[in-house]
């Protein structure tokens, strides 16, 4: 699907460069509301060029690259390939890839539940046939790519990406993009952020060698030394405009820094005599975080305290611990209310449906009890003064928050903290994506706020910013390693301190807790098998006949239907959805097979095919309209039941001869039901091992990355539900065959049981995991529990409650042993 087209030379007469160019961007303008993220930017990439793209946060680099890769459409401007101009309306991510453009994203776009080789397959599937051994070519490609870019990396191509370190994942991502067949331009966005010196060297020498063969590169990095080292040409962006473009030999770090607007001297040193004497500590840090420097740290009123260090050294954690005040033991003591200003505004700051005013006042409102009245008039009054202070115009109060520029959104968030009027304000990288002028205003403002007696604790990734603070706590490996005050605060000192105490092993923290937790996880993974064994043993001890072939067959036959429905549910859950209509659908097919199929085989067959088609369309609809699967499938369940009722108002019908025969045979004296369950499980494993299965799992794990690699979410939504429909339809037929009659309500109870079986079998509801054997064991266990209760003379009234409680217990257990690192 990713066959590259050589750019046709439609305009051979076009002057010189143009028809040779890999790609040319002309006068690109892109506006977001009132702000211009890109203003008249040109970019020309010739074969073999290595273009260094630099600029501060919010300078417009990512916007430009998204336009280049077809993810965004510009407001104005042109793009051309080898002289052939392409309309942006016809230009999308897929088209960009077809033209040989590949991007390595900062937020990694690998599917963590797939192996390295499978991730290579996802990116460039080529002509993969679902034949045995289809993986081997991708495995070889992955091996070759990794060896070419990062010799001696030792990454196992069969390892799950989720088991790799961040650095290794970045290497996989880079190798995958750079070695794509027919790639012409590779965009690398901060490729070395997680790589050590040696790997970074390897990457640069690979780029150097490959560019000689004609591949072009765009290298985006904050590490200016690397940019100067590798680039043949440098493009500097500043506030969405081109600040400079020229030969790399003319560039120096000082020059680039100046061009980017980051005049190091421009941040005025905060030379107020710190109010630390006023020993009115309102935040006190003790315990583990201060164990390195060996003394408590007290933060007083009116102080601005900076938290510095390499990213991920524990600054953010401390900030959140102060916010929540729930550090292990009482490492953090805070005596006053606190506000939080997040730098990641989209994720942690703004409420996108609200006006600026509502966004500002929520901090104040949150302090009140629930039924207190909120009046916009009073809120406006309260917001006026802080907003005025921030130079945030009152006329903008009623605009939607997203219509504001990043800088003004930031002001609104600061205003939120000021309106809430808390003595402590926590800032998490607050100037991210804010232009330099606003930044300067911001530093002055912070000074004012502190003068007024408030305490600011400020985490930042820009070391230069810390000059605006009274005191800096430098972090390394989760501990404070240095405390700098007053004139000691210099960029050099901060950098020196954060590197000096780096132990080097950053990934040690990946170790997942105690052996007990490991054991608990192991236990939960084995739950379906332990459960199955326990239930079977209990049943045999109550009634030894269970152990006979006849007994087992009798008990397990009803389980066949549940196994099938659970497999259907498993595929849906694998796509991080839940199907509340799968039981009803099986019920419908059961009715169809016992009525129409029995009376008029052709019509019946057609009806079942139509039902499967309808069910498959649901999957496409859910994806195309981005609507919640639960509600859609719940609505669909009413349709299935409605059709079933109309066809057969009361239970009845008859099973076609051939259908009954399917469950009445025997092989080697083994119970039919066991053979059937094994066949179903084997088929499921087969589907999962096929390229299709890998794609489906990829969607469940990282749908955005899959779409970016050119896979259609709608098409695979349909396919996912089609597979589920086949299983559910087979389950419906099995219900008819086993009961030799049908009842539209016979499938209903299977819906919850199927979810329970899937959870029990080891699939996470979040998606991406397919585990046929576990799910089959889970389904059999659950269906035996009913029989067991019967044998123990418990009324069947208790069945529903038992099923519900088992499901809750399983989920609670799972959530108890789950890894919480990635949760908000």
């Amino acid at each position: 699907m990713l066959q590259s087209q050589t750019a046709p030379m439609v305009h051979p007469t076009t002057a010189g460069d143009a028809h040779m160019a890999v790609v040319k961007l002309d006068k690109i303008v892109k506006g977001f509301g009132p702000t211009l993220a890109n203003a008249n930017i040109d970019l020309l990439a010739m074969p073999g060029d290595v273009i260094g793209l630099v600029g501060g946060n919010g300078a417009g680099k990512s916007t430009l690259m998204k336009i280049l890769c077809g993810v965004l459409s510009p407001t104005l401007g042109e793009i051309s390939f080898g002289g052939e101009t392409v309309k942006f309306s016809d230009y999308g991510a897929l088209e960009a890839q077809n033209r040989g453009i590949r991007m390595v994203h900062q937020e990694l776009s690998l599917c963590t539940n797939l192996s390295v080789a499978e991730n290579f397959f996802i990116e460039a599937s080529g002509e993969t046939r679902p034949a045995p051994g289809w993986r081997s070519s991708h495995r070889m490609r992955a091996r070759a790519a990794l060896d070419a870019v990062f010799p001696g990396s030792g990454i196992d191509v069969d390892a799950k990406v989720g088991h790799l370190t961040i650095g290794e994942r970045q290497m996989v991502e880079i190798a995958r993009a750079a070695t794509t067949p027919n790639v012409k331009l590779v965009v690398l966005d901060e490729p070395t952020s997680s790589l050590d010196q040696e790997r970074s060297q390897q990457l640069r020498s690979y780029i150097r060698d490959t560019s000689k063969t004609g591949t072009a590169f765009i290298f985006i990095s904050h590490k200016l030394q690397e940019v100067i080292d590798i680039a043949s040409m440098v493009l500097v962006l500043r506030n969405g405009k081109m600040a400079w473009q020229g030969d790399a030999v003319e560039a120096s770090i000082e020059k680039l820094v100046q061009l980017m607007g980051g005049d190091v001297g421009s941040i005025k040193h905060h030379d107020k005599v710190a109010a630390t004497e006023a020993k009115d500590a309102i935040v006190r840090l003790t315990g583990d975080v201060t164990s390195f420097i060996g003394r408590e740290i007290e933060i007083g009123r009116g102080e601005i305290v900076g938290l510095a260090g390499l990213e991920g050294s524990g600054q953010k954690e401390l900030l959140h611990a102060i916010f929540q005040r729930n550090g292990k033991s009482s490492d953090v003591v805070r005596n006053e209310p606190v506000s939080f200003i997040a730098g990641d505004r989209q994720k942690e700051g703004v409420f996108p449906m609200w006006s600026v005013l509502a966004n500002m006042s929520i901090g104040r409102i949150a302090q009140r009890s629930g039924l207190t009245a909120v009046s916009d008039k009073a809120e406006r009054q309260a917001a006026l003064e802080p907003a005025g202070h921030l130079q945030l115009d009152e006329a903008r109060f009623d605009s939607n928050i997203l219509e504001l520029s990043g800088g003004n959104q930031q002001k609104a968030l600061v205003a939120r903290a000021l309106v809430a009027d808390t003595p402590i304000i926590l800032l998490d990288d607050p100037t991210r994506g804010v232009d330099i002028a606003t930044k300067q205003d911001f530093y002055r403002l912070c000074d004012d706020i502190a003068q007024a007696g408030r305490t600011l604790i400020w985490q930042t990734t820009e070391d230069a910013e810390l000059l605006a603070t009274d005191r800096v706590l430098v972090f390394a490996d989760g501990k404070i390693v240095e405390e700098l005050t007053g004139s000691e605060i210099t960029e050099e000192a901060i950098v020196a301190a954060s590197f000096a105490h780096q132990s080097g092993e950053k990934d040690v923290a990946e170790d997942k807790g105690s052996t007990f937790a490991k054991f608990a996880r192991y236990l939960v993974d084995a739950a379906p098998f332990i459960g199955l064994a326990a239930v079977l043993i209990t049943m045999i001890s109550v009634n030894p006949i269970v152990a006979s072939t006849f007994g087992l067959d009798l008990l397990l036959l009803p389980a066949v239907s549940l196994v099938l429905i659970a497999m259907a549910q498993m595929f849906v859950v694998g796509g991080s959805e839940i199907d509340l209509g799968v039981g009803a659908f099986a019920g419908l097919v059961s009715v169809l097979s016992a009525t129409l199929l029995y009376d008029q085989p052709w019509l019946g067959g057609l009806a079942i095919v139509a039902a499967i088609a309808g069910y498959s369309c649901l999957g496409g609809l859910i994806q195309a309209r981005k609507i919640p699967a639960i509600v859609v499938t719940l609505g669909a369940s009413f349709i299935w039941i409605g059709i079933g009722y109309s066809l057969q108002p009361t239970p009845g019908g008859a099973s076609p001869q051939w259908l009954s025969a399917m469950v009445n045979w025997s092989l080697f004296g083994l119970p039919t039901s066991i053979i059937l369950i094994m066949i179903v499980t084997a088929i499921t494993i087969l589907i999962d091992r096929m390229p299709l299965g890998v794609v489906l799992r990829g969607f469940g794990n990282n749908a955005a990355a899959m779409t970016r690699s050119g896979w259609s979410s709608v098409r695979y939504g349909v396919i996912r539900y089609f597979i589920a429909a086949l299983y559910a339809a087979t389950a419906g037929c099995s219900l008819t065959a086993i009961n030799t009659a049908s009842d539209i309500n016979s499938g209903n109870s299977f819906t919850l049981l199927s979810v329970a079986a899937v959870v029990m079998g080891g699939c996470a509801l979040i998606g991406g995991i397919i585990s046929p054997i576990g799910v089959a064991a889970g389904a059999v266990t659950l269906s035996l529990i009913g029989a067991l209760l019967g044998m123990l003379n418990v009324s069947s009234d208790y069945n529903a409650a038992t099923q519900g409680l088992v499901l809750i217990a399983l989920l609670v257990l799972r959530s108890a042993v789950a890894d919480r690192r990635n949760e908000p």
């Binding site: 977001f32 994720k347 409420f351 302090q367 839940i578 409605g642 009234d797 409650a801 519900g804």
Partner: protein, 353 residues
Amino acid sequence: MRSFSDFGFWAQKNRWIWAALGVVLLWLTLSIITNRFSLSSLSGIVLSASFLTIIGIGQMFVVTTGRGNIDLSISSVITLNAYVALLTIEGQDANLIIGIPVAILLGLAIGAVNALLVVGLRVPAIIATLAIGYVLATATLLANREMSTFAVSPTLKYLASAKLGGLPIMALIALGAVLISIYILRFSAYGRALSAVGQNRSAARLAGIKTGKVIAIAFIISSVLASITGVLLGAYIGGAFLEMGQPYLLQSIAAVVLGGTLIFGGSATALGTLFASILLILIVTTMQIMGLPPGAQDMVQGVVIILVLALAGREAVMRRTPSGADNGTQGPSETDAASAAGTMPSGAALENR
């Protein structure tokens, strides 16, 4: 032309208007085509819609907490409470003093368990409430065994079915619930917090909102309202049967979505839920009058909810393109909230702009 686009803008903020227009149009059409619709038949529809409205409001609070949260236990809560009320009240007004508190307490308890599972133990809301629903189904079966009488207390019967000047008392109760909800959603601190949590949970937490508490309260509101409705519904039909709560599950979700509350959370409209409830009952009644079998009625309801969602979903996709596209790193919930950015919630910032 100008006024037309003004209306479009206004309607975007007041999404309840579509359900209200639907009621009026369907009503007018039916009155003209058949002569079986009159004001007195309207009061019957209003009575049925009242029960749905109260349940729908509870569901609305849960849906507004965002992340696809839905309370799937309400149908079981309704049925169980109808049985328990019959058992505790035994047809005697004197026993109301026990029966009503028991129902409310039961609602509180079920809501609290749901909240504990969802907030405390991080079980996905749909699964937690689905499973609790199964547990309650067993409780209902056990209650069913104990039944000796299906007598209904006269006061409850009066509340559930009598009219006051042509208007069913139930309608007044439902209207009261709607008005209180409007106050809570638009003018109370809880309403703001609820909308904030539904739009962007991380931001809400960092803004100082106790998100767990806000979500827990929504689940409790839902269960308590379903409990009370269960008692009244039992009084209205003069007894209880095992499947009596079943239709209300899908209908409550349909009422919420059809009314204009966003299925991804963050924005709710009680007025919309009211009108959508009437619209749904009107549709069901029409089908009954047309003589459609119950199976066909189920089918139509299923189709309606899928269609409404598909249309509303398209709106969200369209709005996503300008603002959401540049935020590739956002999680699904945030993107969904951002996609709805074009509209203001009918609640909070209504008089802004």
